[in-house]
Amino acid sequence: MDETFAGSLLASTLRASTPLVLCALAGTFSERAGVIDLGLEGKLLATAFATAAVGVATGSLALALLAALAVGVALSMLHGYGCVSHPGDQVVMGMAITMTAAGLTVVLGMAWFGQGGQTPPLPQALRLQPWFADLGALLEKLPLAGTTLALGLTGHPLPVYAALLAVAGAWWLLFRTRFGLRLRAAGENPAMVEAAGVSVKGLRYRALALNGVLVSMAGAYLVTGLSPAFVPQMSAGRGYMALAAMIFGKWHPAGALGACLLFGFLDALSIRLQGMPLPAALGGGAVPVQAIQALPYLLTVVLLAGFIGRARAPKALGQPYAKERRA
């Protein structure tokens, strides 16, 4: 394998992993607090659309990001209103958000831009600039894998690096702060949290707020970093794949990062291997790209089945918590 190929594979792995990482962290926060989030896919789509629509209309990156943030957090709060304030079914809520977003983004997109649901390409001011481009020249001089590292690690837009930082931040918040301890307790044993005088509802709402912020970043990245415009259903199952990565990473930020990088790598690999012949030893023929694309889902099922280690969900996951009342 030559260095340019390895470098570009590493680069596209990182870029493809970024929205997955952000969504998987979003899922980790809400699920650690006891709220299943099947709405990730819908939130990702809705925030991407908000970024693109406001970006095209105003030409301002700040306003576009603000719109994404508002939509993402609002959807998370809706989730909270139905399933934290009221004892609604969390799975149904997630499906509702995803279905509504899949429809509404196209309806509004067609009404506002009239291009079959697409937005026009985002103006140049909203395209994210490459970072650490100068560092690439330095890395290139390294022996052995210099070119690979330079091509693979530098010159990405900011969210790629921010997502990696967010993993560290999420780990610190969840496992090294009092807030994180309480948040995780709300997902394991909410009655105990309440007995200690801490509001389970408050914790779950705050987890959902963090969830909304992280999803907004992922959605905004889709249209400013990955693709030049909003296209209907452009989230393309990334929300569900992030959910799978979160489970694969055993509800831990570092584990989720590992799973997202693996899934991102498989995605990048399948695109590169499209139409390439198999080695003669494997019978020639075209590489079964679909098999590579299906691998993340298959691996997650195998993991869930307990055949490669054990994935244990937070104990109170999916259960609405109602404070006991004095009769």
């Binding site: 139905g82 279905m99 429809g103 679909q290 969900a313």
Partner: protein, 377 residues
């Protein structure tokens, strides 16, 4: 977890089962109306045209019933699992596999067998493929504790990948460019309703509505009889209501989980008969087209009961047909408006169904108090 929506509330049956769902669907319609208004259309005009498109002509009614047939199968697939305490989000993948099962038999034996033998075999194969695709997540839930919601989602993606792999590979029509299979022979095509009615001497326009609709009616009746009038149905529902009590009563909950998922998958697999053998007459990549997810909405509004599912499937059939007509009649209207409304219905009649309950409890208590004071001497 799916059963958490019911319980503790003491409202009379007619409010709980009829008024509340209608109220919640009404809210969803209202919000959809606001969206329609926001994109510059007249909600009342759109609604009127939608009803006319769905029921205004014999062809319109036929299309509505054709869509409803598919939604009956996917709705029942959600409901049967729900009664065993499971949430089946895998209807989409199970339907896809059902289509594959039907197509394999239809393509493989199409030239050897007469329709009278071939069609039942295709139905059986579609059900078996759907059953198998749902039984794996069911078994993993029962014996390995893998959450069926997550595994069925994964199986949807696996089914989608498999069907694409087959349709660009071995099953691809060598004569065409598109990823679709060869056309099914005449014997492997389910007769259209216009043909059946033609035999009876009735003149009916040619539409996608086919004999599978009768199968949907049989499925509705069959599920009702099974769930409420047989031992097996009792065991299944007991498992959903109280697994511990069921175990104490001599029912093996694990087996019931497998039975429920298998039955759900078999029902969803019948979508393959309606779409592949009944309409497209070849295996397409995305013939299920979200019907599996629509089934969640159908089952939710239908309160997981066959009668309710029949009504909800008709509602969704009408929405899909009316929506398709509207695209031609109203510039600026997109089919996705129907998907939006579907999502809003799941939101208000499903996820937030309990939000309105306290309001109705208060109103009910007020009404009773008023009734009592009026009745007092």
């Amino acid at each position: 977890m799916a059963s958490s929506a019911s319980g503790q509330v003491a409202l009379p049956g007619w409010i709980e089962l009829a008024l509340l769902p209608v109220f919640n669907v009404g809210i969803a319609l209202l919000v959809a109306g606001v969206v329609v208004r926001a994109i510059g259309l007249d909600p009342l005009q759109v609604f009127g045209l939608l009803v006319e498109g769905a029921f205004g002509s014999r062809a319109g009614v036929s299309y509505t019933l054709y869509y409803a047939t598919t939604f009956v199968f996917t709705g029942l697939a959600v409901a049967v699992a729900w009664h065993a305490g499971l949430f089946n989000i895998g209807g989409e993948g199970q339907a896809t596999m059902g289509g594959l099962g039907a197509a394999l038999v239809g393509l493989g034996l199409g030239s050897q067998l007469p329709a009278a033998l071939l069609l039942p075999l295709m139905v059986l194969s579609a059900m078996l493929f759907g059953l198998a695709w749902a039984a794996v997540p069911g078994a993993l839930q029962a014996w390995r504790g893998s959450h069926v919601v997550i595994t069925t989602i994964m199986f949807n993606f696996l089914a989608a990948a498999l069907i694409v792999y087959l349709l660009v590979g071995v099953l691809k029509d060598p004569a065409g460019m598109a990823p679709e299979s060869r056309a099914l022979g005449a014997a492997a095509q389910v007769p259209g309703m216009h043909q059946l009615l033609g035999v009876l001497g009735l003149d009916w326009p040619q539409t996608p509505l086919n004999a599978t609709a009768l199968l949907a009616l049989a499925a509705l009746a069959g599920v009702h009889v099974f769930l409420w009038h047989t031992r097996g149905g009792y065991a299944l529902r007991a498992t959903g209501l109280a697994p511990q009590a069921a175990l104490y009563g001599g029912i093996a909950p694990r087996r019931q989980v497998l039975v429920a998922m298998g039955l759900a998958g078999a029902l969803a697999g019948l979508v393959g008969i309606n779409e592949v053998a009944g309409v497209h007459h070849r295996l397409l990549q995305d013939f299920a087209a979200g019907a599996g997810f629509a089934g969640i909405a159908v089952s939710l509004i239908g309160r997981n009961h066959p009668a309710g599912i029949a009504a909800a499937a008709l509602l969704f059939g009408a929405l899909h047909q009316g929506g398709a007509e509207l695209v031609f009649e109203v510039p600026g209207f997109s089919r996705e408006m129907v998907l939006t409304l579907q999502g809003l219905i799941v939101l208000f009649a499903g996820a937030m169904a309990t939000v309105a309950t306290p309001l109705f409890l208060r109103l009910h208590a007020l009404a009773r108090r008023a009734g009592r004071s009026r009745g007092a001497p």
